[in-house]
Symmetry: C2
Subunit: 421 residues, 2 copies
């Protein structure tokens, strides 16, 4: 297996650091628009693993399908891992297909709201542009494994596991994500510094959140509907010392993926944004700073959202000043395999101190990057195999969860948890 | 008198519309970096006043002292009215002096916080860079009339009036500014759209607010000290139907101007920002979007604060969608000329419906633009005269207030009010 990672931001960087401990691949090329960023990642990996010679850097414009295709051919990549902002999903996805490589991503092609009823009906849904090309991937005998980060990704693996092994009937598959992370500046003062791309955070939090309901599956929108941003706040109690966090509906790929392969009455995603982030996002929206269309500023044209992302600390750099834990998980309610009512939270917690110590990588991006590396290993060994455009829930969950949790060096040494409530 | 206005934003545009009704000048040149903006103002004035031939448009880079000087010479301007953002004060001020013209502005050269104690001591104060050159203006026999908008401007005229005619001793000169303005979009939904330059609003609201106290006049900072942003909130009851508005300390020129010419124990400025604006400003500061140093955004360099200003509706264009009244005024406490305690609010209210009907100009910029035009007329007739760098309180207030309030066509038909409380 020869892997080409497009994007050397936080997730692309962490994926290289995780992969360097594994033997399943022959080459790992890190490509970024900015070659210095890609080289920085390769240098960091090499410094940590003396003698490691499978990693190399390249540069590419992820928005240019032909450039992606050319780089796949040039590097001889068998698998493309897309680790750039979701606005580049369609070009990287198409470039990989054109070059005959398999493809993995951690976010899917973007949605567009319903033109008349944005907070009731779906328009173009997350991933629609990718699923529309599923036939081409099948005909080519190639696999696009979409949404295989942590959320979407591990959350979808949990859904398949719950359906196969824990529940006979599922009422709700509810992804619930929360953290108690704090970032401080040099003086120890708490600062506003999102752990993940602010561009993506704005995208997912300000778009109309989507939910899926089985009893509406026969309607024209196929069971999907939308709500206003920040709808239905709910306090969810997260494990391992994180505690209660206010969560709100957010647009997320799981709601589009899970109903395609797993039976449930309802699929939701709620994110523990916290009051400050909700206030920040509301203000950005009020001012129009969430917009992506370029505006003219003294003779140059820039996207306001790019400016917001540019002024905030790079998620890649905040690890050393971050404290706390992040939790990704799936809250499942329904009837257990024993016929009794069951309410179970399946989860994965990462302590920033651990990811910093072992990988010099902050926990939020590290947790995202971990899962596609596990998936690549399952594909390399043939444990997972398929063609077409498939979500993580299309594959057997057990080998994934086993490999994730098994101690090093056999596994990735990152256990997941299960809590019946 | 030949007037050159630098800046065809909201205030520069409104000043031309007001001036077109007066006969005291021979030529009025409107100059902007963007010649189309200047031409738009001239076209609007000409359309409203057929046969009017005193107005013309020009283009100039206000940050370039030599370009300002050249344009003053080219146009033969006797008076330069600076109507651009305060960051260009020093270049326009210097260009006018170099060309031998008199000068008026509505905001003064910018402050820089004290490097160690920003929220206790002043650093470089508003206007310091201008007062430092007062000797040059005096030697040249030329006048720089600084801070002659509405605030600073009319508020300073009120201070001189209160000292000369209403009070024997003044405890506090407290500028209090409030409004009940609402802006709606095409669908009638309330939107966030500041009536004044957002660049300036950020500058004055996030800088450490300054106060002056007579009993500290002997200290190294000359009586001036600073507070944290949004300090000492106070609900002030504004007249003519506006009602109570929460006001907070804000850095403003009056606090630097009034103590130089008017005796008082304390000088303050509080602005009725309202909860939403305070929350917006806090968020912009938290994110670093108030910063002015350019950041790199995908290969271009822009100032985040310029981007914030660029995404908001242009204050020049929101008049037709605005409703309500704005009030500028001075709250004076102390001992009246009769020896009894006195508490008086001197104020000027503009209803947006009136400024739109009579000038097609929204009330906040119109109210600012009105006062330098009145001052120019007093200078043209020789009623006001002086040399050096002088604030409005250096001149007799009565002819200003009379000309402002007198019905058209003799005066400007814009009465001011006095309320003893």
């Amino acid at each position: 297996m020869r892997v080409l990672v497009i994007g050397a931001g936080g997730v692309g960087d962490a994926a290289a650091r995780i992969a360097a401990e594994r033997r399943f691949f022959d080459a790992w090329v890190v490509a970024d628009r900015d070659p210095a960023r890609a080289e920085r990642t390769v240098a960091a990996v090499t410094a940590r693993h003396p003698g490691e010679d499978r990693f190399s850097a390249a540069s590419v414009d992820a928005s240019d399908e032909a450039a992606v295709e050319a780089l796949v051919r040039e590097t001889g990549a068998t698998h493309v891992l897309n680790a750039v902002d979701p606005r580049f999903v369609t070009s990287v996805f198409a470039g990989a297909l054109a070059a005959g490589a398999d493809y993995l991503d951690m976010a899917m092609s973007l949605s567009r709201p319903h033109p008349e009823q944005p907070y009731a009906r779906v328009g173009v849904k997350l991933g629609d542009e990718q699923f529309a090309r599923a036939g081409e991937w099948e005909s080519a005998g190639r696999l696009a494994l979409v949404g295989i980060g942590v959320e979407p990704g591990l959350s979808d693996v949990f859904a398949r596991y719950a359906a196969d092994h824990l529940f006979s009937e599922i009422d709700e598959l509810g992804v619930r994500d929360g953290a108690n992370l704090v970032v401080r500046d040099e003086d120890g003062t708490e600062v506003f510094a999102p752990g993940f791309s602010m561009w993506t955070t704005i995208e997912e939090c300000l778009n109309p959140p989507v939910v899926w309901e089985a009893d509406r599956a026969g309607e024209p929108d196929g069971g999907w509907s939308t709500l206003p941003p920040f709808a239905e706040p709910e306090v969810f109690d997260f494990p391992e010392g994180i505690g209660p966090v206010e969560c709100v509906h957010v647009e997320h790929e799981e709601v589009l993926l899970m109903p395609r392969w797993v039976d449930a009455r309802r699929v939701t995603f709620k994110y523990g944004l916290g009051e400050e982030m909700i206030s920040v996002l509301r203000t950005l929206h009020t001012l129009g700073l969430d917009r992506t269309e370029p505006v003219d500023v003294g003779g140059v044209r820039v996207s306001p959202r790019d400016v917001v992302a540019a002024v905030l600390p790079d998620p890649l750099t905040i690890g050393p000043r971050m404290e706390g834990r992040t939790c990704a998980g799936l809250w499942v309610t329904g009837t257990g395999t024993d016929g009794a009512p069951r309410r179970t939270y399946l989860y994965h917690v990462v302590d920033n101190a651990d990811s910093m110590r072992d990988y010099d990588s902050q926990c939020v991006v590290w947790q995202t990057a971990l899962n596609p590396v596990v998936a690549l290993e399952l594909l390399a060994t043939g444990t997972w195999a398929g063609t077409g455009v498939l979500g993580p829930e299309a594959f057997d969950a057990v080998p994934f969860l086993d490999l994730l949790a098994a101690p090093k060096p056999e596994g990735y040494g990152s256990p997941w948890g299960l809590e019946d409530r």
